[in-house]
């Protein structure tokens, strides 16, 4: 049993980290305080999805978690995705589709899309839409986001076929 701990340890973007925290600090606030500012504060009540991160493979809202609830878990933020110079496929497609306007929702969109692509195979539009249900965008409308997501999914689906001769089956 842990009592009155003031630290929390979890794997953040593949690295084991320990942070000092307080019982009342939200995971979102800890991440931003520690410089992981790609994760955004939107509504603060689990509705808009701007703060979406991946915890143990599932998309969750960092605004509804206390930092200490992450103890021992694996957390991934937008910082684990591509960079300016080397964007991840979903990031390339979002830009190509013109899906990014103010950009505030995009980190959350990317994390939900990543959870979707890592958890599901043969992704139909219906499944994709269900996964993206908890992420709101107030600028571009969703059409361009769908286009980008569909292209990314189709690109990923085409890839193992290309690699198969070398890598064998997955």
């Amino acid at each position: 049993m842990k009592t009155a701990v003031n630290t929390v340890s979890f794997t953040l973007n593949g690295e084991k980290k320990t942070f000092s925290t307080r019982p009342d600090e939200k995971l979102l606030d800890l991440l931003r305080r520690e410089g992981y500012k790609g994760t955004k504060y939107g509504c603060g009540q689990g509705t808009c999805g701007a703060c979406t991160v991946i915890m143990d493979g599932r998309a969750v809202y960092a605004c509804l978690l206390y930092a200490m609830q992450a103890e021992g878990r694996k957390v991934r933020t937008i910082e684990s995705m591509g960079t300016h110079d080397k964007p991840a496929p979903i990031q390339q497609e979002l830009v190509a589709a013109g899906a990014v306007q103010c950009g505030y929702c995009i980190p959350g969109i990317i994390m939900s899309a990543t959870a979707l692509m890592e958890a599901e195979k043969d992704i139909t539009d219906e499944v994709a839409r269900e996964y993206m249900d908890g992420n709101l965008c107030r600028c571009t409308g969703y059409e361009k986001i769908w286009v980008a997501l569909r292209k990314t999914i189709d690109r990923a689906a085409a890839e193992p076929a290309k690699k198969a001769p070398k890598g064998g089956k997955k």
């Binding site: 019982p23 809202y61 939900s112 993206m132």
Partner: protein
């Protein structure tokens, strides 16, 4: 108000042992999706006990006559289970209507009941499936029909420190339909929900349970409507009469989400839809 202390026991035994040493004003934290919002609005205790590490609450057991689901299972985990799809069709059907995917990854079925809200989707589904709720406090366990767990809005039968361990649902060969009316087709708290589970035999109703959410102070069983259906064929006349009975059993109020008169009118509409949708 937020807690000054957050503790995380790793077993039930550890929890019961630690209780006496914790501040008196304490509560359990499961997914946090209700508690966190409540904490933003007012006092939410000095100490929160994170129960997400309790393996006992993640239990899933199946016997020849019943299915037990642990209170700590999330809606997403439940919706993915084959046994849930088979034996708890209403719970599986309600999942897509339950908040959003990220919320379903966090929200637990135990928290949905403990919160005591008449609009809870998981509760509405489980009610229609004749679930019993299993509670534990130190060594003592008790079990009661789920409907009798709810006393008033936000008031349940839980005693201080008592924990919901899970839900026991009898295996019965039923089909279900889940009709939720929210502010939009997905992701919103219900204005009215009607969930029907029924066992049909040669086209006749052998047994039916009708649960309604957001139309009474507590999650409601429309008993008269369900009794009326007994032994009948689900034709248009029967459905219409049963829906009218269900409507008469509700007592909705006007609040931020909807208006009493609209809710009342919609109970009937949703009951007709649900009964008409039941797979033959």
């Amino acid at each position: 108000m937020r807690p000054d202390l957050l503790v995380k026991p790793s077993s039930l035994a550890g929890l019961w042992k630690a209780l006496p040493s914790l501040p008196r004003d304490r509560r359990y934290l499961a997914g946090g999706t209700d508690l966190m919002i409540a904490a933003g609005h007012g006092h939410a205790g000095d100490c929160w006990i994170d129960i997400s590490g309790l393996k006992e609450l993640k239990a899933f057991r199946e016997t020849s006559s019943s299915v037990f689901i642990g209170a700590g299972l999330t809606i997403a985990e439940l919706a993915e289970m084959t046994a849930v799809k088979k034996w708890l069709p209403a719970l599986a059907l309600c999942a897509p209507h339950y908040a959003s995917p990220s919320l379903r990854n966090m929200a637990t079925i135990g928290g949905n009941a403990a919160n005591g809200s008449p609009c809870a989707d998981g509760v509405c589904a489980l009610l229609s499936e004749k679930a019993e709720i299993v509670l534990g406090l130190k060594g003592a366990k008790r079990k009661m029909p789920l409907h009798s767990f709810f006393l008033a809005p936000k008031r349940t039968a839980l005693k201080k420190d008592e924990l919901i361990l899970g839900f026991e649902v009898p295996k019965w060969r039923h089909v279900s339909a889940y009709e939720k009316l929210g502010p939009r087709s997905y992701f919103g708290i219900s204005k009215v929900t009607v969930c029907v589970s029924a066992e049909l035999s040669a086209g006749l109703v052998k047994e039916a349970v009708i649960a309604c959410a957001s139309v009474a102070p507590v999650p409601l069983l429309a008993r008269k409507a369900a009794e009326f259906l007994y032994g009948r064929r689900l034709d248009e006349g029967t459905i219409s009469e049963a829906a009218a009975l269900a409507q008469s059993e509700t007592s909705p109020i006007t609040d931020t989400r909807s208006e009493a008169a609209y809710r009342k009118a919609m109970v009937r509409v949703l009951a007709v839809r649900a009964l008409s949708k039941l797979p033959a």
